[in-house]
Symmetry: D2
Subunit: 444 residues, 4 copies
């Protein structure tokens, strides 16, 4: 019996996905092209630690395979930009509109969402080729190759496409986390030092706001999604907002006080979900006697009590708040405070922690960690603002048609690309969703 | 072969349920006892047209058998009043708390909601005996037999129990309608003359309200549920409200224009529901070629185009509004108009139509049919008002724990007991519910 | 507050269903009419202890409401006899073919089996009228009113219809048992003295049969179903058959030895069923500490160890046999012994026990209790005999189309009408069925 | 924008899986080692055409990912041979017993069957390493390294393990076929020339066998599974067996005659399955107007009418037979003819067609194509032979525990390894299974 053949190395990431600098931009590139290259190549950077097999699987209907994300974000540019900008543009593959349309009824029939994980083809390599093909066409378009007047009306769609890709970058990581955590081998996405030893969260204090009118929603300048508009007035009664998110240690108290066994703390649908799914703790927590460990993108590690609690459903956030004697803020209350906070600061994906960090005492007078770390469930059902108008055409399906049965989350997370969120940004998920980086902040 | 034995007559209603006057009230009865007798005996009056078998069956999980309603409303008084008011009160039957508790976690374990139709026992007769037993004890309590000081703190609960019974009176009829309509024999609850021939609805016009603060919710005096409180301020942008509900004829136009086949008109969850349940028209509509008939409590009869459309889900109401180029009002917008309308007028259950009626031109300056006829879906998810506090104890489960995944309906219907609704009244159902008397009114 | 009105008496059985003698047969009645009256009225006799509500409910898809059984057996005669025998026969009601056809594809569309319990109409009274209507027509037919030559070809179908009704008589009782046992009130069908105190089962001994050819199946004379034919030869290796069915006490030993927790004793599908349904004991056994009680048609009562175990699935019978170091007999092995046993003796429904009885030591040389008491699961999948020919037309659906995924049971039970079974009789149920009177006998 | 980086080549098959000759056997290798190397390396040979992604996905619960098959067959040798033969043998990975145990309750807990496709790790490369690791240990064991007396008792298990691996070789291909056919891109496993043009099947004629005793089952010499034993006698009535399997063209006639719309042709469970799954034709047939194409391992290609029909359920086979006026043979009838046929001839996997071929007229006096091409559904439920004894210990779960709710198929297919089947070989699948190479032959 001979020695086994040479190891088959998992394809080195560098051959599968170009490093961030791989798509070199020519001198004089217009800034939109530079932005395009930055955003698009970051999707590939995020794939570097993966084995090829990790691109393929789907662990639950809400999770999409990595290769699907890579292809779908590409399809977005092909369908909504290239096909409109370029006379006679031929799609890269005739079946890709069917395979990589997510939910746009106006863009035609599509592959079932919960069957994305049964597709071994196109291969990862073919998806990467698809990305390059579209990237080349986009680069040509953005470099001036388009007929005059063709590009201008599409600039807004291109910018939207880049924000869309950033949303999928966060989803790629939350979906991968679910894939890796579903595996009995508990593989890490990336080795990781873990949280600082002995970290302590600052005490929770309250920030008050007096009653009165507030302006809510995105104003003129700068990018915003249609669901953030129009800016409008709401009347807020006086209230207080907590200085930081609820920590894992505080949440552990809730558990130890029987929080998961006391129906009086829960919404009716929440209690039904808690029983149906047999929830005993946040997703990814694993308890062995008194020890709690949690699965992170850095692998399985002990729970850090000082960090914001994460991976809880709206129902759990709501039950915790009731147990605490407080409540969740509405999204307008949250925004009233966040408007004055610096959205560009915070623990975002580029910080590399890939996990919420304990709050740091700061001299800042306002609430901490409004941005980054964890998305914060609010008490607000996702609904249209007064005077809301969805985008025209198929892109009108981007946000508006989901305005039912979902709750609003605010502030971004440790997996959100820096620069992607703002005070008026409205994220939304069904109340039972737990695989996103969802935590909570209290109000009263 | 001899002639068959004498007909077995279905038990005459008068022996099953006492007529309205059967519980005679003594001279000098305090008004609460008089009210108690009135409300309680009306539940039995509603049963008069039934065959004994009609009391028993459950056609879907949301529908409860009539005898369950009769027992559950009785359990409410036994549990929340008698057991608290009377030292050593013995429940009528030790198993009834288990059988007839609807959803009160604090009141103990209970029979599964979707298994209410498998219980042949207790028999209808036994349930009626249960009602009489509790009625006698309540009558004694309300006539002064209780120890001093025991009654006073329970008066609010008794009043709540009567409003609770009225809610179940409407449910008894909507549930029975489902039972009868599910039967291939299409039996009528009560023979019925049907709508006036050639009725025409007045044209839809718009009533405007200028932007500004509005006060919303129940004020001090008079009964209200906890979910209507506290009264508080909201800022409303200017808007217009339609002068009457959408008619069946207008809804038919929506259908004929392909409304059920155009996903762009629907919310995402709505389109999924429309496909999952294969909705093609409102519940109870039956189409034969161009003819549309609908099942009513008076049996199967031709659709009257002038009457308000009914038995549609929130999703259908929302899709119709989008098709029309309008939207649904928020509950606050609705209430801003309804506050000035006379809630005691309207087509309620006592009118005996048991079906929505075409609007009548009136000299009144405001919108028509805000009260009675059909519950109107609003654009508002059911959520707590700022400062909301549920009742203490088990009764805190009455409303508060349902404040998620449901939409608010306003105004009462042709099956609502007169005097039960008011401008601040908030009904709520999941967005896919269709077996209630649910229609819509437009805003823009 | 006046006294309650007079008790509403549940309709006295005598008005709902005629006593056995109610359908008087004229002098000179041909024997088939006499038999018809006997069998048909026995269905009604079985209903005497019921409350009207008991006729209506359906506790699982396999259970049919009593009133459905009463109507379906009537529909059988109307459809397969009267409609063929009488020129221009008008069905009693145009919708009854739809409502009361069980599974005959050739007889047209039908109401869904698992929705029989949602039908409050026709009422029990109307069903009884339907029975009388058909009875009168059948009596006329059998008394000579039919045109010459019309009756003769239908005699076999009438006889089949009577055996069919007898099958439903057993089902009525097993279905009612499920209805009553599903009710937290645990009502009894009929008060009952219970088993004799201190009963002991005789020891289990083995009866041997030498290898050789055996003739199996129904021969010429006498009624038999198509699935019992043709009589044919099989080769049997030598084997031994147990002298009596397994007792409840023996089964208890199996449980106490961990029988329900040892997958090595179970078939793969059986172990899956045991886990899916969380089986811990036979259906209707209720354990409180060391005490075992069982729900019977006589109400809840202590387990009698000497009686044959009942209400077990094929999977449990098979696992018990493996635990015991034996196996189940094939149906041919069973029949080889039963052919010589007196089928007319045994604990059948007319004995009035309505429950299996402990075996009695007898001087008879062969196995005890082959007939009556409990149906015995065999190791034989239900399959056609060589040369099997189903009946012509719709009645060909009676047996043949079920010859897959079911196991054969033999011997009849304490709920089987006397005279209904014979040595070649093949009953069949899916292997997970437990609500029939199913026990087991060992072979090796 | 630079040119894209170098193509990422899918790992060349040669690095993932050794070619057939890669595991070189030393001079003087005992024949069992030679056989071990042959069989094991053929599993890898079958993987050569795959993309790495193809190893990972699971398209339905019954389908396992290729890498799971590769690991499970390895686990079999590790668990049942190495762990018993070698003192202190350390499993390759502590979690692999959990991940790659298929259904052996006695071997411990295991990963859910329907979740095999959510595992991206271990990677394919790691699974291949696992194979090599076990191969090296097995080679050492078979080369004489084991302590004296340790190998001898395990030789039967090793031989069983090789037959087990051959079974999984067929499953790998049928599962891959399902994976590729589920993909809208319809990729081929291997480019393929397709069937010979103008092929015609010889006419169907009948071969008769007179009534009498037959010996059935495996005799002494040669390998057989426990379920083929013991050899025993059965009595067969006279019957006729068709000279060849039913062809696709004959099956098309059944379809065109309304076979899928006539419930009278179907078993009750079969008709329910036909409606539940909306069967209109065999699996993998795609109809466009009059043209029928079918998905094969060679890709999508026109239907060849002369080839045996394949990918039908038992229910369809049974319905076809009824439509034809014939029936399926029992497994004993089939075996009575097959005992005299040459099992080593036939269209097996090594022929490379990977698809059933039209029958060729031969001078042979007996039925054609009894072996190879398509497995033939028989009328026999899978049940133990008289005197059946499963293997001892965990391996007793190999066959015996599945003897319920499955039907026997005989004869092997075009995907079966040559030398794997024999006249007494009993394959078995649930009656609704269609993804195996299942066809039918008629009897009467």
């Amino acid at each position: 019996m001979p020695p086994p053949p040479q190891r088959h190395d998992a394809p080195p990431a560098s051959s599968v996905v170009p490093r961030q600098g791989a798509i070199k931009t020519p001198v004089e590139t217009p800034s939109l092209l530079r932005r395009y290259v930055e955003v698009r190549s970051f999707s590939e950077t995020l794939c570097e630690p993966l084995a090829l097999e990790d691109y393929v699987v789907q662990t639950m209907p809400e999770v999409s395979p990595t290769k699907w994300h890579l292809a779908h974000t590409t399809w977005f540019f092909e369908t909504f930009v290239l096909a409109r900008a370029l006379e006679g543009y031929e799609p890269f593959h005739p079946a890709y509109n069917y395979l990589f349309n997510s939910y746009y009824e106006a863009a035609g029939d599509r592959h079932a969402r919960d069957r994305r994980g049964v597709l071994s083809r196109p291969t990862v390599e073919e998806v990467i080729e698809y990305r390059y093909h579209v990237n080349r066409a986009m680069a040509a378009l953005l470099s001036g190759s388009a007929p005059p007047g063709r590009l201008a009306p599409l600039v807004d769609v291109i910018v939207l496409g880049l924000h869309h890709e950033q949303q999928h970058q966060e989803l790629m990581l939350t979906d991968l986390k679910h894939v890796l955590a579903s595996n009995p081998l508990r593989p890490a996405y990336r080795a990781d030092a873990g949280p600082p030893e002995g970290a302590k969260a600052p005490p929770l204090v309250w920030h008050e706001r007096a009653e009165g009118l507030a302006a809510v929603g995105a104003g003129e300048g700068g990018f915003s999604f249609d669901n953030e508009r129009p800016r409008h007035r709401v009347f807020l009664e006086s209230f207080e907002l907590a200085s930081r998110p609820v920590t894992a240690g505080e949440y552990l108290e809730f558990i130890r006080d029987g929080g998961y066994d006391r129906p009086e703390l829960w919404l009716s649908d929440g209690w039904a979900a808690r029983k149906r799914f047999d929830w005993q703790a946040p997703l990814y927590w694993e308890r062995e006697g008194d020890l709690v460990r949690q699965m992170t993108l850095g692998g399985l590690r002990p729970l850090c009590h000082a960090e914001p609690v994460c991976h809880i459903s709206y129902y759990e956030a709501d039950a915790f708040a009731r147990w605490y004697g407080a409540r969740l803020p509405t999204e307008c209350e949250w925004e009233a405070f966040a408007e004055r906070a610096p959205a560009h600061e915070g623990n975002y994906v580029d910080a590399g922690h890939l996990h919420p960090e304990p709050a740091k005492r700061m001299s800042s007078p306002g609430p901490l960690q409004l941005f980054g770390d964890v998305w914060e469930w609010t008490a607000s059902p996702y609904a249209p603002y007064p005077g809301f108008r969805p985008l025209e055409g198929a892109l009108g399906e981007y946000n508006g048609k989901f305005m039912c049965n979902q709750m609003v989350l605010r502030g971004g997370s440790c997996l959100t690309p820096r620069g992607h969120v703002r005070a008026s940004y409205r994220n939304f998920f069904p109340p039972e969703a737990r695989w996103q980086m969802s935590g909570l902040r209290l109000a009263r």
